[in-house]
Subunit: 450 residues, 4 copies
Amino acid sequence: MPRMTPANCVKRKAPPMIPRYSRPDMVAIWSPETKFRIWFEIEAHACDAMADLGVIPRENAEAVWKARDVEFDVARIDEIEAVTKHDVIAFLTHLAEHVGAEEARFVHQGMTSSDVLDTCFNVQLTRAADILIKDLEDLLEALKRRALEHKDTVRIGRSHGIHAEPTTMGLTFARFYAEMDRNLSRMRDARAEIATGAISGAVGTFANIDPRVEEHVCDKLGLVPEPISTQVIPRDRHAAFFATLGVVASSIENIAVEIRHMQRTEVLEGAEFFSMGQKGSSAMPHKKNPVLTENLTGLARMVRSAVIPAMENVALWHERDISHSSVERMIGPDATITLDFALARLTSVVDKMLIFPENMLENMNKFPGLVMSQRVLLALTQAGVSREDAYTYVQRNALKVWEHRTDFKAELLADPDVTAALSPAEIEEKFDLGYHTKHVDTIFARVFGD
Amino acid sequence: MPRMTPANCVKRKAPPMIPRYSRPDMVAIWSPETKFRIWFEIEAHACDAMADLGVIPRENAEAVWKARDVEFDVARIDEIEAVTKHDVIAFLTHLAEHVGAEEARFVHQGMTSSDVLDTCFNVQLTRAADILIKDLEDLLEALKRRALEHKDTVRIGRSHGIHAEPTTMGLTFARFYAEMDRNLSRMRDARAEIATGAISGAVGTFANIDPRVEEHVCDKLGLVPEPISTQVIPRDRHAAFFATLGVVASSIENIAVEIRHMQRTEVLEGAEFFSMGQKGSSAMPHKKNPVLTENLTGLARMVRSAVIPAMENVALWHERDISHSSVERMIGPDATITLDFALARLTSVVDKMLIFPENMLENMNKFPGLVMSQRVLLALTQAGVSREDAYTYVQRNALKVWEHRTDFKAELLADPDVTAALSPAEIEEKFDLGYHTKHVDTIFARVFGD
Amino acid sequence: MPRMTPANCVKRKAPPMIPRYSRPDMVAIWSPETKFRIWFEIEAHACDAMADLGVIPRENAEAVWKARDVEFDVARIDEIEAVTKHDVIAFLTHLAEHVGAEEARFVHQGMTSSDVLDTCFNVQLTRAADILIKDLEDLLEALKRRALEHKDTVRIGRSHGIHAEPTTMGLTFARFYAEMDRNLSRMRDARAEIATGAISGAVGTFANIDPRVEEHVCDKLGLVPEPISTQVIPRDRHAAFFATLGVVASSIENIAVEIRHMQRTEVLEGAEFFSMGQKGSSAMPHKKNPVLTENLTGLARMVRSAVIPAMENVALWHERDISHSSVERMIGPDATITLDFALARLTSVVDKMLIFPENMLENMNKFPGLVMSQRVLLALTQAGVSREDAYTYVQRNALKVWEHRTDFKAELLADPDVTAALSPAEIEEKFDLGYHTKHVDTIFARVFGD
Amino acid sequence: MPRMTPANCVKRKAPPMIPRYSRPDMVAIWSPETKFRIWFEIEAHACDAMADLGVIPRENAEAVWKARDVEFDVARIDEIEAVTKHDVIAFLTHLAEHVGAEEARFVHQGMTSSDVLDTCFNVQLTRAADILIKDLEDLLEALKRRALEHKDTVRIGRSHGIHAEPTTMGLTFARFYAEMDRNLSRMRDARAEIATGAISGAVGTFANIDPRVEEHVCDKLGLVPEPISTQVIPRDRHAAFFATLGVVASSIENIAVEIRHMQRTEVLEGAEFFSMGQKGSSAMPHKKNPVLTENLTGLARMVRSAVIPAMENVALWHERDISHSSVERMIGPDATITLDFALARLTSVVDKMLIFPENMLENMNKFPGLVMSQRVLLALTQAGVSREDAYTYVQRNALKVWEHRTDFKAELLADPDVTAALSPAEIEEKFDLGYHTKHVDTIFARVFGD
């Protein structure tokens, strides 16, 4: 029978390192060093408040700040924790090594570990949100630039993967902009949701600590005091936070799938950046794979996978159970680091992606003129042709185009039934691309403002 | 080999009936009658706008309103759809039967089916949100009433299911109030997210219809025009909407689990309402089961199950594919109807639930006075006893209580080491419940305002 | 404050009707009539076993079978339930109306409601599994037929949506066959998992009923006795069952996505069946949408959405709580009905789908011969050309094809560096499609047997 | 605008380290060293097979084995990959540094990267499965031992958290045994599902490599050749694998929740191991928290969170896209490492958990004798008392017990209506615990065999 011993079992208390798809600023938020630094600030500010309230001596509060510039020694804290079996006590012990045991003796007075842990976690999530907000702003900038650049680049709009009516590449970028702008707004709401702190004691009654300590600490850390906490900050806030990350990730997938479709060999209307000059890849220019956006598709699944566990975390038993903790040790770093990486990668892809307008026109004309068949059908009925007859006229010409790739307009012009109803000029007009792009400016004004 | 025939296969186009856990007002939103009524309004308002723009004759627009008071015949529309194989065309055909074929000939001009379907779906979700908002307001009222009623009803706070420090039942209700108040705010945001409409044509370019038609229709239906749509309204909105429902559901589970715990035979601090006078159930008064809150626990899982499919719906191909549709036909009604039912059931449970204050005191004193051991420990160290000695003193007395259920205070008063450090009055003071409840008013003021 | 009253709240006890995407045989399994019929059989067989054991009189057991051919009156049972507030009691009361109150008085003796409900649910799931197994067998037949039909129909294989090397359409069907054959095997395992029954009393101790009653009932219903139950059959079985449905659904999505890709306007290598002769759709032959497979994509999401709730159902409190029940009332019918419908729809799509071999060749030659560039590169290095030089030779010719759509083979034959290393015949051989299809028979033998 | 540069972006190609909740043997499976070792074996065995087939020279195949005992230098391979931007090429380059460039020149001939990557991944998952199978066997051993130990330890069975009828602690362990035994069987199936390999080339046609190479490599690695692969091994296998992990995790949660309930202050029928002698924790003996099982509850959520992404991975585009890859880089290690840790932790908890039989009896008698009220009710009606009267008699005595905690049996014996129907001996007999435990041996025989 196996036994759980230090030798065969590692429970990592320090925040996890996730060196897969990550960027250093976000990773740094989840480092043990950052965590201990935040713990320090919580404790030090709490001491200040307690000194203000006359609960502890002023000099003891001031003494704590001697550790202001200390980079806490993670290995040393781990060492102490191996003995104390308690992460916060280990930290406090180490802090006392810097501050002096005597001077430090009022640190953490009346507080419970969760006061530190939960407030710290929300500081980390708030900082993570700040990075994600910046990521979204960067992405929006790239999307806007590409939207303006390709405002009038005509391509076929597709429903069901099938050619429908013309649209423009700029509208595609613009709708991604609008979607990500909504995500920016959601992310800001999510940040506000999570920017709370609690210093309220073992069951949230402030029995051993004055509520004004909480107010002071939160104020200093840029947080709002949690109006009512138990031992913990209520987890509906975190559920809403991670749900928002899941929505943002789904939008990333949306853009990624569009680009993957554009890069298909048969479509080739766009591609992740590559340089023809490069050796290697260019030996097989047709074999340039959209691996970045495929990767983003997978990363979106992973960010989404945090949503349900975060929701399952809401129903804690009574004033708290600790089932949420292992979940958050994983999804806290994993979901934010992955989403940060994904947003930055997407920004880079959007920023540099290749657009092939000629191919767009070629695709649109795969069955020359056929995408205009609906307009012609409508024009015929409006010109007084019965619905049945109009169908028949359009159908017989459309089938020629479908089967022989002849030109639909030429076929129509050669069909006496059609020309009996519509003049050549009228037929010609139905093939005007400007008809489809006439409101692009209106839409751009809606999305980007005037 | 089986063949899909009308005989062995029913694809129900009409909104589903879900007669499981449902309430009629929410069910009505998803009825075919409601849907056709909304379709009618969209088409009729669109005609008005087109008449205003001079695109269609005024009299044709006015003629459509002849059907203003018609209750559309769902069976007849189904009959037509069996021929046309297209739900919107079937409806339009039926509408023409009321309006007159000639008068109706401009109805839907320049529009695409999705203009009607998507705008209608958002009207339905918006109305569903209105009911859910009302549900939350009702729940908040019940929670507030119970919170005030039990503001000072002392019970033991528990972390990990283990007795920690005293709190009050009112604080429990108050934190549920605060949580549901956040949910109310989230639900209002979700409503705003989803209250958009689109009348923008086959790929969202307004090629065949003026944007002012969209503006007019949205205005009349209480919606905001979607700034940029494709053939469809972007699905990140819906993902955010259903994610919010999932958060609300998780909070329902949170309250449900608390009540289920309270009603456990060994705890019995509260219970779903039952009357002792009733025949039957009262034959076994100990066997009153928290079936309503257990049911809510399950319903929460179901509402949450809509979240991931809604997020998977975001990444549609190009200007739309229809993969989202079957998902939404199910989760649209299912998630809103279930959540409405769950909120109403929870309100009823909260409103009527039995609270047993005597049992709360009895539970708190299962090991008499032992929940105060931490305060005593702190007091001893503050009185100058070393940490080791303080532990020893507390431990030896606590173990007596643990093993023999004697009274902790009495044991302390009889321990000369303890009384050497603390006076009887000081010891007595550590067992004062008022110490733990002194900030309840502060917290209530934070939650409910002054 | 709203109150839950019969007027404003409907808790449907009868199995739900889900008339969305459904087929009648599967729907019938979940009808109230079927449920009551199964309940009857459980009770009647239990009486037989109790009579065999001498626990109840033989004539009472025999009397129960008077209801053998009764179609139970659902409305009447609902009426009784409105009074008794208990579904099983309502049924037993109604049963007694058929059997006679005196004769029926030993029915259900020593049993608990869950004995009936859980055993019935597993009978329903087992029957649902039988239909799904048949569905899979039908699908396999269609896939095999299409695989054999298109064993040698060459198309380009694609990785990342980009042309890679040639393969055949038959291999595509064959791999779907192999995947669905694994699903058939999983489905059979899932059926075995769920084909258990329990008649073990209030907490599973058989205190009031002999285990031999359980054995007899299970034997008659084609079930295996659950080795150890509590009040309920353990829910890990159901979690495994619904997880299997989720895997099958994901495979449906896999095939659906392939077909959707094939039908894209630019690809057009296949399509869901449509007839050119049809009026209407053929007016715009280019606008035939893969709506069935898009629908399947959405349905797959819905079947998958049952997996997590089913897993959350496993951790019931002690000997049971009833949180699983509302979940199962929904996912039981929903997931099986939807999957049955989806499998049948997929079979129909596969059976009738159009395959366009000419377009496959045309697509493969979009950049004429370029898909063979890797073979040429390899051949050059094998002929002693350095890796750098080989790259250069291939690259300069490939770029011409990429840019001007000239023929790659012709370019190579005109390149003296290439022809210095490879003879014309050798070059020619690199473009032989047979090279790529030479092991198709081997693979078919693996998949379909010899 | 941020740019993705080596400086600000780390895409870790090497298998991730997840030092959270982990054990070294499982972590080792996912180390870069293990991965490269498996890659080496795949390549070396493939060379052997190719030499056997006469495709490459025997001496080159033999030369590869010079690296048999090499521990591959991960840093060096990373260094090469920084240049080549391709993990497999980097490895092959490094391998050539050991084998000699000339000798190594046939390594990987005709193979595609996925042949190596996918086969390696399945080797890793198979080995992970082996550990998980061993974990389950260890857990079963602990559960069986505790079941036998407490076969006759009577405790109250609970439905809805409410006292129902007596059962035994041994039955609780026995049902967990049966559940985990089913999981063992599922895990073995999952292992068989995933133990396949593929060496089939760019699109799975074996165009450039003989199928016998695949057979040889698989044979040597303990795998079965994948009957039909594309560029990748089909992902329904992986979906089924991770779904199984999700079911196992849900069963862990089931046991964890039971133990958490047992340890509640008010219940206290069992507890995670702690020693009263310990300093610290024993100062507050009532405050021993079930943190290990709470942790397991959270870990179960995390393992389950891999299920949906794994299912979303099934629908790859055509012969493969790489969206699955980032998902698997995370869930491969995360889910298996977490589940391994959780199983081992659970085994330790079960093995050492404290059981408090006296408290079980005390709890059962919270309302003395009341749990027998249903038996008494039944006995009264069987003795000829009408159902109404029987209810009345039981109810009036039960209410006394409920309100005053008197003894139910004593109340009954003092009630003349009751004693008119039942003799004292008959009443006495209804309180015999043996009535409830008489079939425990039968159930144990079913679960553990005779």
